[in-house]
């Protein structure tokens, strides 16, 4: 009987949703393979978060130390490498999040365990895991095989699995001290800052006119702003528009921007990368206008229009008089 590790991610006193998604998948695999589920939690002194996750794992290994009270990729990697050497878990699941991306590849090199990143599913065939990934902005799926190894590492895409509880666990808590020879972290946390505060709040709008890379150039922003104004909508956008400085960050919808829940989301020239789509799962109705019939946005939209977005924008203005 082997073990599956889930690395707990938390911020500002709350366990991140990705962690529960990892638990869900780990549960499924543990049942299938008769493995036990071990959660690994890094926290401060008398870490209270352990209570919230106990019921999701057979064992919670918790490192309580101010040095790991906040995320620290250097120390997570060191401590996990030690723990992996000790336990030899069959599988270690981590979030494909900014934090997971920060230590998982280093952990792979460190342990010699192969890593598949950004996975949307994990299969097990002949005792070996296989990872399912999406590549080329989700246009192609890829099944990835690992080299033979004692254990395997996987980072999971946010939203790939449900958050529900799928098994009963006794949740034995095992407290661990940081080893005396733990190296000093080379990167130290300073502060969290809100980078998306601003003049408008896209999360409260009932109707969003949202623009993406397809808008093409900065000069075209006023055209779409005018359309939004005429429709009584708020203007939002996808990441490339903010990257190019065409709109400030507080307009951005998606994983690294805001999650929105309008009654109608009107997407113009947005291809629909998963980071964007994750931000509109709460929208009542999605209407997408895009020249590319194969754009992934059409897989999640309720209505689709394959057309030049400016032609549709102009026609909408004309109809509204």
């Amino acid at each position: 009987m082997g073990e599956i590790f889930v690395v707990v991610e938390h911020r500002k006193g709350e366990v991140r949703e990705i962690t529960y998604q990892l638990f869900w998948k780990a549960d499924e695999l543990c049942q299938k393979l008769s493995h036990t589920l071990t959660a690994v939690l890094f926290g401060g002194k008398d870490e209270g978060l352990v209570n919230g996750i106990k019921e999701r794992a057979d064992r919670v290994i918790v490192f309580e130390d101010e040095r790991v009270a906040n995320f620290n990729g250097d120390l997570y990697k060191e401590l996990l490498a030690g723990l992996i050497q000790e336990h030899r878990p069959f599988l270690t699941l981590m979030g494909h999040t900014p934090w997971g991306m920060d230590f998982a590849p280093a952990l792979s090199i460190r342990t010699g365990y192969p890593l598949a990143t950004d996975c949307v599913d994990i299969l097990v065939e002949d005792g070996r895991p296989k990872a399912v990934r999406q590549i080329y902005t989700g246009k192609i799926f890829s099944r990835v095989a690992f080299k033979d190894s004692q254990g395997y590492l996987v980072t999971v895409r946010s939203g790939a699995f449900p958050i529900d509880k799928a098994g009963e666990h006794k949740g034995e808590v095992v407290k661990k001290d940081l080893p005396a020879d733990l190296p000093e972290a080379r990167r130290l946390f300073v502060a969290f800052e809100d980078a998306a505060a601003g003049a408008i709040d896209i999360t409260q709008a009932d109707l969003l006119v949202s623009i993406g890379r397809g808008v093409g150039e900065a000069d075209k922003i006023p055209v779409m702003q005018e359309l939004a104004d005429r429709m009584g909508a708020v203007l939002s956008c996808s990441r490339p528009v903010v990257d190019k400085n065409w709109l400030p960050k507080y307009h951005q919808v998606g994983t690294s921007g805001k999650s929105v829940k309008p009654k109608v989301y009107l997407a113009f020239g947005i291809s629909g990368a998963f980071q964007h789509v994750a931000g509109i799962s709460g929208a009542g109705c999605v209407i997408a206008v895009n020249k590319d019939k194969k754009a992934p946005i059409f897989r999640v939209a309720d209505y689709g229009v394959v057309e030049d977005l400016f032609k549709v924008a102009d026609a909408l203005k004309a109809k509204m008089g």
Partner: protein, 259 residues
């Protein structure tokens, strides 16, 4: 300040119908146009900006064939001082093997900062940067959207979810994985690329790096590519723009959001 930037040439796949090759291990790339990976374009710009501020040298490195030199020439035109292409020959390298060859080359060069893009716009693994850091024993940060270099360290701003940034201090030498939007990459003209042709571009063969060949065996392999499973997807509204506009306004009215 000595800065090394790892870059990659990738196919442009937005608004393109992709086909899978007969072996089902890759997409058909013969008809695709190529460009520098978007994240790497921001990384090279950041390196040049840091050099302009603090002095020093920027070296661009790629692992690839002669065709991939195109992105190195672009980096040279943007302000890199020299470029290195690591030629894998007939070897097919996974991200671990690519990281090992990059680390092997970088090890022999002075470096205060190593920059990579967060990920590449092809298979989106996002692992090479942090793997190179670990192989070189460097401090690192991923998803970096601001860098302020000072003395023997730097203040970095990492982009988290939900519009939250994490500010941290990192010791140098360090490796930073650069996020898009960190700067505004400069325009590169044909003339600029021509001028940069005089700059140094060296080619190193993988077999000359002193890495045992078995060390470059893949840790992961693509077993099979396939098209996404069919979903119901959108109901398409057909017709000329006027008809489409009418239909959209009707939906807005139904949903109670028409003005």
């Amino acid at each position: 300040m000595e800065i090394i930037v790892c870059v990659k040439r990738v196919p442009l796949t937005q608004e393109v119908d992709l086909e899978i090759n007969p072996q089902k291990t890759d997409i058909r790339k013969d008809m695709l146009a190529y460009s520098i990976n978007e994240w790497d374009n921001y990384a090279i710009e950041e390196a040049v900006l840091l050099k302009e501020k603090h002095g020093g040298n920027v070296t661009a490195v790629t692992v690839g064939s002669e065709e991939d030199e195109e992105v190195l020439r672009r980096c040279l035109a943007m302000g890199a001082d020299k470029a290195i292409r690591i030629d894998p020959g007939k070897l097919s390298l996974d991200s671990v093997a690519v990281s090992k060859t990059l680390a092997q080359v970088i090890k022999g060069m002075p470096h205060d900062l190593v920059l990579t893009g967060v990920q590449a716009d092809d298979v989106n693994e996002g692992s090479v940067g942090t793997m190179v850091a670990e192989l070189l024993g460097l401090a690192h940060a991923s998803v970096v959207r601001a860098v302020d270099s000072e003395g023997d360290g730097a203040t970095v701003r990492v982009e988290l979810e939900g519009g939250v940034d994490e500010v941290s201090k990192i010791k140098t030498p360090a490796l930073l994985c650069i996020q898009t939007g960190i700067n505004e990459p400069r325009y590169v003209s044909i003339m600029g690329i021509r001028k940069a042709a005089k700059k140094e571009l060296n080619v190193v063969k993988v077999e000359d790096l002193g890495l045992p060949l078995e060390d470059l065996a893949p840790w992961t392999t693509v077993e099979q590519l396939y098209l996404p499973p069919e979903t119901e997807g959108a109901e398409f509204i057909e017709g000329d723009p006027a008809t489409v506009a009418e239909a959209i306004l009707r939906i807005l009215k139904e949903k109670g959001v028409s003005k």
